[in-house]
């Protein structure tokens, strides 16, 4: 390796910084464009200028009487939906990035902790029992968190848990809950509750209102901010157990703190918009390619890219065909090929170096 002198090293730092700034600017621009386009397009299209003007009016005077149809569509139908999609996408991507760090495994997704399947059970049971609205949301959230606690109880042996045990316990809990969900679907009334359960399981922002957005926002934002504050600690936790401990991390306890925050984020998201796969695995990967592995850059990049990507996917879901396509279908159709590509690149690069 060529030795670098101090004079040659400085430009590397500067170009590294310049590159990061450029990448973040591009990601923010992508998000902004996706956000505005999503407000404009749909069965009733609104010009971009008018949509921005309406958003400005809505933001400065939220209690104004909404009279015209375009006002009502942009401010009451599309805006809450886009905001919720952005928050959900950001939360899922952030959770995925953090989880892959603490597991030291780039192939895990937030589903691995059993949150989604636990939440699915709560949701399916709630729908079957005819529960709607806020009680249903609460029920989904609580059953998601309960699933993570169950994973923790199974994985903790003598007060500590190995990563592999956590992954396998998550698998066990997920399969248990998904079996019960299948059973619920089997006995659900095919005319009323079954379609509702199936549609809910595939994920959608179609039911988004400001009310639902505000219900999900605290969990997503508080969990997200705390994870972001842990960004340097995640670098430490991504090291081998012994190394992390020698640097002063109480790995077991801190890892469960991260799991807890992820449970709050994913639980909040699932409660209002059902199960949305793939975001938590594809977006952190793409972000790693763009800004590197350091969680101090990776987490914010995942947040912005996740939010933008989710808004784009949701816009496609509601505009591509006359009927709404379930989100889970599109994220899988878009996410799986991207993931396959990333996987191949990852191993090609690894073998090459």
């Amino acid at each position: 390796m060529a030795a670098l002198t101090e004079d040659e090293a400085a430009p590397i730092v500067r170009s590294h910084l310049a590159r990061q700034t450029l990448v973040f600017a591009a990601l923010l621009a992508l998000f902004a464009v996706a956000f505005v386009v999503s407000l404009c397009v749909g069965r009733f299209s609104v010009p971009a200028g008018r949509a921005l003007e309406l958003i400005w009016l809505g933001a400065t005077d939220p209690w104004r009487e909404l009279t015209t149809i375009e006002e009502r569509i942009v401010l009451l139908v599309r805006a809450p939906r886009v905001v919720l999609a952005a928050l959900a996408g950001a939360g899922l991507a952030l959770s995925g990035a953090a989880l892959q760090g603490v597991f030291r495994n780039p192939l895990v997704s937030p589903d691995i902790l059993g949150i989604s399947q636990g939440a699915a059970f709560g949701g399916a049971l709630g729908i079957m029992l005819g529960i709607w609205g806020f009680p249903l949301i609460a029920m989904v959230f609580i059953s998601g968190i309960a699933a993570v606690i169950l994973v923790g109880l199974i994985a903790c042996v003598n007060g500590r848990s190995e990563t592999i045990t956590v992954i396998l316990s998550g698998l066990v809990v997920s399969s248990m809950f998904s079996a019960v969900v299948s059973l619920l679907q089997f006995i659900a009334d095919p005319n009323t509750s079954l379609p509702a359960i199936v549609y809910w399981l595939m994920g959608s922002f179609a039911t988004a209102t400001w009310e639902r957005t505000l219900i999900a926002a605290p969990g997503l934002i508080i969990g997200g901010v705390l994870l972001w504050m842990l960004r340097f600690r995640l670098n430490i936790l991504s090291l081998d157990e012994a190394e992390a401990q020698s640097l002063g991390a109480r790995t077991n306890r801190e890892r469960w703190l991260v799991f807890g925050l992820i449970a709050v984020i994913v639980g909040s998201q699932v409660a209002v918009s059902g199960i949305i796969g793939w975001i938590g695995i594809v977006i952190p990967h793409a972000s790693r390619l763009l800004v590197g592995h350091d969680h101090r850059a990776l987490l914010p990049a995942s947040v912005v890219l996740g939010a933008g990507f989710m808004v784009i996917i949701d816009t496609l879901a509601r505009t591509a065909t006359a009927a709404e396509i379930p989100l889970g279908v599109i994220t899988a159709l878009v996410g799986a090929p991207i993931f396959a590509m990333l996987l191949r690149n990852h191993y090609r690069e690894r073998n090459g170096s």
């Binding site: 390796m1 030795a3 670098l4 002198t5 101090e6 090293a9 590397i12 730092v13 590294h16 760090g101 030291r104 504050m229 842990l230 960004r231 340097f232 600690r233 670098n235 430490i236 991504s238 090291l239 081998d240 012994a242 190394e243 401990q245 020698s246 640097l247 002063g248 991390a249 801190e254 703190l257 590197g292 592995h293 350091d294 101090r296 170096s353």
Partner: protein, 253 residues
């Protein structure tokens, strides 16, 4: 100061170390010597607190500067970012490293002779270069204790020489307790004050100053190979002691 008092570690019915006591005060350097499988690594882990003790206790500060044989390399961090991780214990769980921490990290890289790798990716460095970066991270912890796991195991002769010279510069201010494990008694002769010999067959490990412990008789029973100590003239005329194994071999021709 770091050490063990009466420490015992068992794996199932196998006793790995028994009633082991030694201590390394600030200003002294200990070399842990022995062939594979005698509990060198277990002793190190016990000292660092990674290994539960079945008896006795461990004496160590909260944070020990630990230099593993190979660092984690499935994540891609810049060497400087790896070194700044040494500051984690000072920053707490929600803390972020600031300019001051990066300053400490850079000067640690300097002391470890790895400043030129600061902006390189850690996982792209060679084994020896990584070790220097990990040593810098251990220095950046600010701990008065450094523990190195087989620091010379993966190095060629030239880099062994450089590593030993580096260890000696770290030793010189006599403000740190340093412990390293090694296969080669010559490393103990050149860079340690005390030696801990992991003797075979359940004998108590031998602990004492290098001059008393690194002798042909002790080394012969340690390695099971006849050993000779020779005096050699160094490059600038001073005499060095060196230990050589007198391998029997078989004349093939």
């Amino acid at each position: 100061m770091i050490g063990l008092e009466d420490a015992t570690v068992r794996f199932g019915s196998r006793t790995i170390i028994e009633a082991l006591s030694f201590s390394v005060p600030a200003g002294r350097t200990l070399a842990v010597l022995g062939p594979n499988g005698r509990g060198k690594t277990t002793t190190l882990k016990a000292m660092l607190g990674f290994q539960q003790l079945d008896g006795g206790r461990r004496v160590a500060p909260d944070i020990v500067g630990y230099v593993p044989q190979t660092g984690t390399s499935n994540q891609r961090y810049r060497a400087l970012d790896v070194v700044v991780m040494g500051r984690a214990a000072h920053l707490g769980i929600f803390g972020q490293p600031g300019p001051e921490d990066f300053g400490i990290a850079r000067s640690a890289l300097d002391r470890a002779g790895a400043a030129r790798f600061a902006d390189h990716y850690f996982d792209r460095l060679s084994g020896g270069e990584r070790q220097l970066v990990l040593l810098a991270r251990a220095i950046a912890t600010g701990s008065q204790v450094l523990v190195l796991d087989e620091p010379a195991a993966a190095l060629d002769l030239h880099n062994q020489e450089r590593l030993l010279a580096l260890l000696n510069t770290l030793r010189q201010p006599r403000d740190k307790a340093i412990v390293f494990t090694t296969h080669d008694p010559n490393h103990a002769l050149s860079s340690a004050d005390d030696a801990l010999l992991m003797m075979p067959g359940g004998q108590t490990p031998l602990f004492g100053p290098v001059a008393e412990t690194i002798t042909p008789e002790h080394l012969e029973s340690l390695y099971g190979v006849p050993m000779r100590v020779v005096e050699l003239a160094g490059p600038s005329g001073e005499t060095h002691r060196a230990v050589l194994p007198a391998f029997a071999g078989i004349r093939a021709a």
